[in-house]
Homo-oligomer: 402 residues x 2
């Protein structure tokens, strides 16, 4: 058995980001930049007004003074002249401040008099209510770095910096192969003593949430030929994920079935719970991650290993899932030598501290408690017992979009 950190390190070390493709801006949301976005324009493009009012020479615009309005500058329609002594130009938010003006008289501080004259209600400070050219960003500036997964706000920033196309990493194709005589797809006839398969479609959703394209393969029965044939069909994937068939029982066929197909094992069995049986290797050119058949184990291993693997393939910085500090909402027993991940509900106490309360039952067959959990409390190998209120480290599941 190898440790969780070492296993993740070996998985990530064997993977490389997919190459870049060009996508239209609206398709880039949630994708990972393959190149930085370099601003092609300066924003604002010139000094502009931050308010509706009048562009003025601050030296003239003292309280009580009268100014002559010589023109108007709506946004997108710059005033073509300049503001001379005793003059003002009507201006609107976002419009370029005309030459000569160095301050903005707010609309509500200007009284409109007869004959195109306004009277200043409040003295204007030089530079006030002017947004300087380049206040947000300047042409040539890298506004978004390579490796960033693009948010809605980033899409806005890329648009504002005048990019209609972005270079992003191709979404990795992830083959998903569930194995087992005992499993059936939802709605299909269930074999005697069998159950409904949940792993493939839960993992497919996890893959989508992490930016990959899932390819769900037909369920493989516990038969060497079937497993080998289906695994072959997965060639061309950036990663093949199997579930089931990885434990030590007599009926664990994945390893033996794939051997003749050229499977090179790197490691199997890791010191964690839920999820001891885990296979990592390479099937010809395709990296293969073999997850446990147990649904909770499969998804927790998905969080610990598959999401970082997807991040690496997508071109993001790949690392252990982000954790936060919390206090234990219940006493925790001493841990054995396997790294444990306790399903927990998160809340905030009166002092504003995050509280992580584990479900009383943690059996790895209980998918409902995983669906209800807000996070996973980390229990390192041989961790001592902890009282309620002790500090714990938690992976928040909502962060991961799963």
């Amino acid at each position: 058995m190898i440790a969780v950190e070492e296993a993740r390190g070996r998985i990530l070390g064997a993977l490389a980001p997919t190459p870049a493709e060009t996508v239209a801006l609206p398709e880039a949301w949630g994708r990972v930049l393959a190149q930085p976005v370099i601003a092609r324009v300066t924003q604002p493009p010139a000094d502009v007004s931050a308010m509706d009012g009048y562009a003025v020479r601050a030296g003239d615009a003292v309280a009580g003074a009268a100014l002559r309005v010589v023109g108007a500058a709506p946004a997108g329609h710059p005033f073509e002249g300049s503001v001379g002594p005793g003059e003002a130009v009507r201006i609107f938010t976002g419009a370029i401040v005309p030459p000569g003006a160095d301050g903005i008289l707010l609309q509500e501080d200007a009284a409109v008099a007869a004959g195109g004259i306004i009277r200043v209600g409040e003295t204007v400070r030089p530079g006030r209510w002017i947004r300087r050219q380049g206040l947000d960003f300047a042409a040539g500036e890298a506004v978004l770095p390579a490796g960033r997964r693009l948010t809605a706000r980033d899409i806005g920033l890329a648009a504002a910096s005048n990019h209609a196309w972005l270079a992003v990493h191709r979404a990795p194709r992830i083959g998903i192969l569930a194995t087992g005589d005992e499993i059936a797809l939802p709605g299909d006839p269930i074999p005697p003593g069998g159950i409904v398969s949940s792993n493939a479609h839960a993992l497919a959703a996890l893959v989508r949430s992490a930016g990959g394209v899932p390819i769900v393969l037909p369920i493989a029965p516990d038969d060497k030929g079937a497993i080998a044939a289906i695994a072959t069909a997965a060639r061309g994937c950036d990663l093949l994920v199997t579930t089931g068939g990885a434990s030590v029982g007599d009926h664990d066929l994945v390893q033996s079935a794939l051997g003749p197909e050229g499977f090179a094992l790197d490691f199997w069995q890791i010191a964690m719970r839920p999820g001891k049986p885990l296979i990592w290797g390479r099937l010809g050119p395709t990296p293969l991650l073999g997850l446990p058949g147990n649904p909770v184990s499969a998804l927790v291993c998905g969080v610990i290993f598959l999401i970082p693997a997807l991040q690496r393939l997508c071109g993001q910085a790949a690392e252990a899932p982000r954790t936060v500090n919390a206090v234990a909402g219940a006493a925790l027993a001493a841990n054995d030598r396997r790294f444990d991940h306790l399903r927990a509900v998160l809340s905030q106490d009166a002092a504003g501290r995050l509280v992580a309360t584990p479900f009383p039952a943690q059996d790895s067959s209980m998918l409902k408690t995983l669906a209800r959990a807000d996070g996973l409390i980390l229990r390192t190998p041989l961790a001592p017992p902890l009282p309620e209120g002790a500090d714990v480290e938690v992976i928040p599941l909502a962060d991961l979009g799963i």
Copy 2:
């Protein structure tokens, strides 16, 4: 000007969830359930083994005893007989425990002897390593409630409870109309004094992240006819969102342009920053939300009003964005009568407390700082100045997927 809470209440009060549609399980990820998911099977379907080993009568399986192996029960292949006195059945994880047996002898605690005999290494406790029928859920149980936005784990739970199809709310169609003579799409010619339009595509990504289908309409110039014609083209949307044209300036045409089209205003102007100009009303049958033209204001109003509106349309419980408690990473000035939302970076201090540090410059034209922000610090109207380290309430932006 009306208050933020009142504005949100009036918006939500005017919206109703979209009707249900049936989608295949893999398409249901990220969608909102229109009906609860009722388990159609019991999981586990019978008492099953939690480990690889031997199904035994615990009374017989005392340390040192010899048991005769009378058969095998792989998962999906139940043993058809029963376990009699002095007998054992080879069993694998997930397989049904045969009648007669009431405990599991772990594989590593059994020594295989000649002639189909095993010797018990450790006394078996009754019930140990048996997962009881229904431990996870029982047929007829509501495993997922209506109104829930489905995670990857939920997809697994729906599959395990034998649903291939789910009833979800139809994704709401959101028309997005950016207005202004001064804006151009990325890559298109930029008018003199103009800027590149970022609102429509940032809001489209926000709509997608919140479960809607964005329909980006062509940019409308500041011309009554153009605005009215394009708004008409948006009929059939569940909600029309406009940006720009909502403020008090001479060139704010949306309200006047839409009047002849049957626009009924509910309110405009709210006491918040960024984002004072906001329109809410109804264009014939279509609710209309008019956001400010400023990109930061548009997106912050998107967080405060549009995401809750999308939640309501999608069938989720709609409410104010979730906030967390944090401590201020810098002193905060007193606030005026507008509810303020300070862009901030989030971190954790040594004591595990969340720290929210506002960017020094908060000008509402600075989109880059919004893209860099992890959260928005809430400053209620007339809030007093606060020293560094004071308690503040924060909307974490990552939670919102934007």
